[in-house]
Amino acid sequence: MSTEATTVHGHGPAPGIMRWITTTNHKDIGTLYLTFSFIMLFVGGAMAMVIRSELAQPGLQIVNPDFFNQMMTLHGLVMIFGVLMPALVGFANWLVPMQVGAPDMALPRLNNWSFWLLVAGMSMLLSTLLMPGGAMEMGWTMYAPQSLQTPFSFAFSIFSIHLMGISSILGSINIIATILNLRAPGMKLLKMPLFCWSWFVTAFLLIVIMPVLAGGVTMLLFDRFFGTSFFDAAGGGSPVLFQHVFWFFGHPEVYVMILPAFGIISEIIPTFSRKPIFGYTAMVYALACISFISFAVWAHHMFTSGMPTAANLFFMYASMLIAVPTGIKIFNWIATMWRGSLTFETPMLFATGFIVTFTIGGFTGVMMALVPADFQYHNSYFIVAHFHYVLAGGTLMALFGGIYYWLPKWTGHMYLERLGKTHFWLTIISLNVLFFPQHFLGLAGMPRRVPDYALQFTDFNLISSIGAFVFGASQLLFLYNVVRTVHRGKQATDRVWEGAHGLEWTVPSPAPYHTFQEAPDVK
């Protein structure tokens, strides 16, 4: 970021490496989060490449099953806790103070601490790969009792979850305090940009669920080392208890990953439609509604675990109910585009691509909410296709769109438009080549989490793997485009996009080191 802009208000960043280690500036911390998440995207992506390489052909040819399972577990944990969540927190750090007209986050030292706790947690998690017996092999859900059989690295994996959980809780507290306390005069709650609303709701979700996850993994730790019986039927406990505790966290967690993505899309679409968002208030209530219902649907992950029928029915209806507020959001995005003066720069391409791919993932979600249908889909590749459509096709697409959208504001440079568009088309095509055949594999009965499979699944697996390699390689274009834009590129204007509205577009590009030291006028 350029130096002349940073000296305007007297306090520029500290020189050298200490700037980044000790920083309390929301923009620096946002950059740290985004950079960290970018690195982790390639780490988690490399693990995905190992998985798809092994699955390109039936039989065991590249890695042994134990290592495959470790890759599968760490791929999930790295992508969720190391890529999607940190990237969204990075967006929040950069944008929430600027969008509500605050001088910084409410608790700047805590903000720095949240970031370093995340790095500590992720380092501890990745270090388990190097330990005797390797990392956990139970998938990111860590179900007892199998996760309890993890060799040496068990306690390290548990503590890494604790570290990342504390990081999320503290970060969320900060976002809530900023939104509640530091809005510029006149910035009423129902005037806030939807991105801020989405994070406000998300932060609340995180504060509820992260301690529950911490509790759940603590129970695992106690069962393993201190002889407790939380998950041991002989002592009157139950492994299903872990599933309940985990999914009470885990289901709202998937909304944690998608709601801020909704927020990003709700910023991009009005800009390139040159129309205000359709149904702003409905969008806010839909967010609140999704998060509220998300606490009452967790057991739809457990239809085959042997719950009483009444419980299955309740969770089925509650899960289908979530499609209503989600449908409102999708309808309103399309209604915003309706008769808009549309242009399709890269962010808009990703936003429209998001609507399509996310909706596919949403529909398969409704299919699996049906108990009898889920009995067929459960633990098959169908579910793998479903959640990759919403996480890669949803959140990741929104993140790409958001990066292209705000990168000129952050760096002061325009990215390469043609390269961005190439990145989009390669990504969306390879994404569908990668994940769409997995629906067929799942419906035909291929189980998930296996390194080997029956011969009739070969063709679709090979297609899927080819899609994966193209998808992975396409992200190198993105890497180049971003790194280049940070250093050089056409000077961006303050407004950047013709149709952009909001406080962040009123400050210079790149945004000065300190913004809104004095409260802006909000009309």
């Binding site: 601490w113 009470f248 300190h514 004095e518």
Partner: protein, 291 residues
């Protein structure tokens, strides 16, 4: 290290080394603990202790800085409000943490034990796996883990501990009233009384644990009853200990002349925390000891 920036709208501290340093300490603490648990006792303990020392040094350093900033009236209404929201949601997150363990208790009692004895759609669980098991409470499960034991009763130490915490909630409120009305001697006496009651609670809890292990045959390994009893009361006791230490620190600050009628967020934050451990105890007394 810290200064106001630009206009006087909001205090933004600069370049804090504490958060990074404390993370290094925390990482070492957890890494060492994990090594200790995984069979590397000696090196694990060394790393654990090193981490703990770093953490304590950083906590002292970080809080000294914040107390100094507070006493030099760096924080005004807007900063104060941020701290309040922060503390509210921190306590809320703690409530959710306890929620997980209360949830485990309710789920085990209401569902798991009946299911193991064949209720709902689990007939064959009882017939094939645990023939003859009858759900009851307290229970150490169909495997009779940990051997015969007696459950806790709501009388005795538990009733006394309830009284201790309730009285301490009153004394901390009186201390708060004294602070707001400028009666500093009342603050000193009643705050001291509060943390004294808190430490007494912890000691009598330890006494209860010893009693459970030695006379009742109740241990952490006594199936689901021992598990939920010790883990719930143990985490609560940890929080009481932390709260009592925090009250002690606040008391030392009062003795040194910190806080005044209007400027005492540190005091109130700990008072809130103290009420929080109180309310959790109410839940424990009701669901763990009584029902």
């Amino acid at each position: 290290m810290s200064s106001h920036t630009g206009a006087q709208r909001y205090f933004i501290p600069h370049n804090s080394p504490w958060s990074f340093a404390i993370t290094v300490g925390f990482f070492a603490l957890l890494f060492g603990t994990a090594m200790l648990l995984s069979g590397m006792e000696k090196s694990g303990l060394a790393i654990l202790c090193a981490g703990a020392v770093v953490m304590i040094v950083c906590m002292v350093g970080w809080w000294r800085l914040v107390i100094h900033e507070s006493e030099s009236r760096t924080y005004r209404a807007l900063e104060d409000s941020s701290f309040r929201w922060g503390m509210v949601f921190f306590i809320f997150s703690e409530v959710c943490f306890f929620g997980a363990f209360f949830g485990a208790l309710f789920y085990s009692r209401l569902f798991v034990l009946p299911f193991l004895s064949g209720a709902s759609n689990n007939l064959f669980t009882e017939v094939l796996l645990w023939p003859g098991f009858v759900a009851q409470w307290p229970s150490n499960g169909p495997g009779n883990l940990g051997g015969t034991f007696e459950g806790m009763t709501p009388g005795g130490i538990a009733a006394m501990n309830t009284a201790l915490l309730f009285i301490s909630a009153v004394t901390v409120t009186i201390a708060h009233w004294g602070l707001k009305n400028g009666h500093r001697n009342i603050v000193k006496v009643f705050l001291a009384l509060t943390f004294f009651l808190g430490f007494t609670f912890v000691v009598s809890q330890a006494h209860e644990y010893i009693h459970a292990y030695q006379q009742l045959g109740l241990t952490l390994g006594s199936g689901i009853y021992g598990t939920t009893f010790f883990v719930l009361t143990g985490f609560h006791g940890t929080h009481v200990t932390i709260g009592a230490i925090a009250l002690l620190v606040i008391w030392v600050r009062v003795m040194r002349g910190h806080f005044d009628e209007h400027h005492h967020f540190g005091f109130e934050a700990i008072a809130w925390y103290w009420h929080f451990v109180d309310v959790v105890w109410l839940g424990l007394y009701l669901f763990v000891y009584w029902l």
